[in-house]
Symmetry: C2
């Protein structure tokens, strides 16, 4: 039997990091607020400098292996009457973010939209308030989760990982994530927890809940010393944050298992290198993450039952080929095979060879292979 | 301080019930199999008798307060060449259900579709295999969850409830569901667990994850002695099963909180009395469950910000008015108000009055009111 390797993280370090993050955020908000006051006292129109998020300022950084914003920024000033509305909205949001962070109360994108109405701050619709939230992220270079604005989606996690909560009422309480086989929801308390202890040697992210359950039942966590994460389709940002933390703080490699289609390939890519939408943030990517499958080339290799690709599937392949991240290697090769075979296969397709075929045959083979790419 | 009332359920009873359920299912499958052999030995064509699930055989049972199937049944026989295909499919599924139940391996609707291919049983698409699964449910009068076929959707639960797992590898292990504030996923291990202990006096089901998190943060579980469930929109069947068990086994009243629109009203109705689609089952309803809000009449009463209803929202109201369950009382009244005001309001709309308005003002008021309807 293999020796159990336990990784223990120095608690003080992560705790400090967490506190620093909140402190850093509140300090940044304070600085921006002080600047506004200063402008007013000097008889000037108050303003924000906002990094430009338009396509022309989004650059793929090959060294960082993710999209980043260029150096262009624009001024949003109360002097310009056409900017007065969005200036006020942003100022209010900074105030509200400060309030949420101080009170440690989580909210959603939808909540922010409605909360603004209490202050007679007018947003046409949620699209408008969502945009201002992204502006504030760009101004602060911190994701909205840091100021307690969360999405609706949930995904879940299972495996031998002990966490220690930091949210009010739960500080210092610990939880081992191998004790509920249906999985633990990944929400504010999970992403803000300290990751204190694990015997796992890798993280396996899976696109689908049904497979997640299969993996738990087949004890993939024990057999492959892994933490299993159900991304529930495209991984929500809080899940990507957690994946990054598992990689960076615990040094765990991350492998990704998706359906064998262009959307699956892109789910893996977004975990690895982010989306252009979040080019203004750097906390959501795991550049070393590996897409383990299902590859287009696996379809033939493992004789999987397939479904024909639709016109829009094929168009999506051609679109991605123009993305700099798909310009070479595995990513390009697999897209080209999809285009050639015009067929796709789901994770459940392995069930043709028995329910445990995916965990007993496919997974070990691909894990072995993944050491070399 | 109020005295903590703890409900303890006799373990042996629920365990016995659970075992009986699996035994009952396996026995029923065995009987059907034996009948097929007998037919063959007698030189007859083998057959199944399948309760008719067409609209004409779906009746609203006012006493049971749910849809049920009438007494019409049809014979599916190997004699009839047009039925040979669906007869074979059903026979295979019965074999596969038996295998899953014996091995306690969970699968999904999608898995069943692919698994059939290992046996050269042909399904055109998943729609066809889904239909056969419903046929088998009707034949057995047991939901597919009993033979380990689960959906993809997940919802989650939080509160002072201790469960004891019955799935392999976890038998006898207990879990208290108040220890992970992001919630525990409701999957096979949760729905099959014994519900052993709780101090809660009610269950609050909420339509949205964001509100679920709010309720946990505001300690609604403690302040209102409740178990909180996030249905994630329309409640998945496994969640409805759990709601029923919390009501029936622990005697807990169930209240439901949805968006203030016709879809929210129907989410509550489906938890209460099921859907016509599941008229062949009786294990998924909580007839005593109460829809606490957001009512159409609450919109004006609580001065909520609203969104205009679309044409299709309004059409949906008129459609539901034809449903026998919406013929009277609260259900009819609220639909009529929606039609009159042509506006709807979401749960997040309360944020206009502060993030805690919903838990501090609305919830206590409606809980008090709900005692009288």
């Amino acid at each position: 039997m293999a020796k159990k390797v336990t990784k223990k993280v120095t608690k003080k370090e992560t705790k400090k990091e967490k506190i620093d993050k909140s402190k850093k955020l509140i300090q940044a908000l304070k600085n921006h607020g002080a600047q506004i006051y200063e402008d007013l006292e000097n008889g000037e129109f108050p303003k924000f400098s906002i990094p430009n998020r338009s396509i022309s300022n989004i650059i793929y950084d090959k060294k960082l292996r993710q999209y980043v914003l260029g150096t262009n920024a624009s001024l949003r000033s109360a002097r310009n009457s056409s900017q007065l509305r969005s200036f006020t909205q942003l100022l209010w949001l900074a105030f509200f973010a400060n309030k949420l962070t101080h009170e440690k109360k989580s909210s959603t994108l939808r909540d922010v939209y409605y909360s603004s109405q209490a202050f007679a701050v007018d947003f046409e619709d949620q699209q408008e308030s969502d945009n201002i939230i992204v502006d504030l992220e760009a101004v602060l270079s911190q994701p909205r989760e840091d100021f307690f604005v969360f999405p609706e989606e949930r995904s879940s996690i299972f495996g031998d990982l002990t966490i220690e909560y930091t949210i009010p009422g739960y500080e210092g309480k610990t939880q081992n994530l191998s004790s509920h086989p249906d999985g633990y929801a990944i929400g504010p308390s999970m992403t803000s927890a300290q990751l204190t202890d694990t015997s796992a040697e890798m993280v396996i992210a899976i696109e689908k809940g049904g497979l997640f359950t299969r993996f738990v039942e087949e004890q993939v966590d024990k057999k492959f010393k892994s933490i299993i994460i159900n991304t529930g389709g495209q991984a929500p940002r809080s899940t990507r944050t957690l994946l990054k933390r598992l990689h960076d703080e615990l040094g765990l490699p991350v492998v990704i298992l998706t359906d064998g289609d262009v959307y699956g390939e892109h789910i893996a890519m977004v975990i690895k290198s982010g989306s252009a939408n979040a080019a203004h943030l750097r906390e959501l990517t795991v550049p070393d993450a590996k897409w383990m499958g299902v590859w287009a080339t696996d379809i033939d290799k493992f004789k999987l039952p397939t479904i024909p690709m639709t016109e829009s599937d094929i168009k999506r392949c051609y679109d991605l080929l123009k993305d700099p991240r798909y310009e070479e290697g595995l990513w390009k090769r697999e897209l080209e095979v999809f285009i050639k075979i015009k067929r796709k296969a789901e994770l459940e397709a392995f069930s043709k060879y028995g329910l445990t075929n995916i965990t007993e045959k496919y997974l070990p083979k691909k894990l072995e292979e993944s050491k070399s790419f």
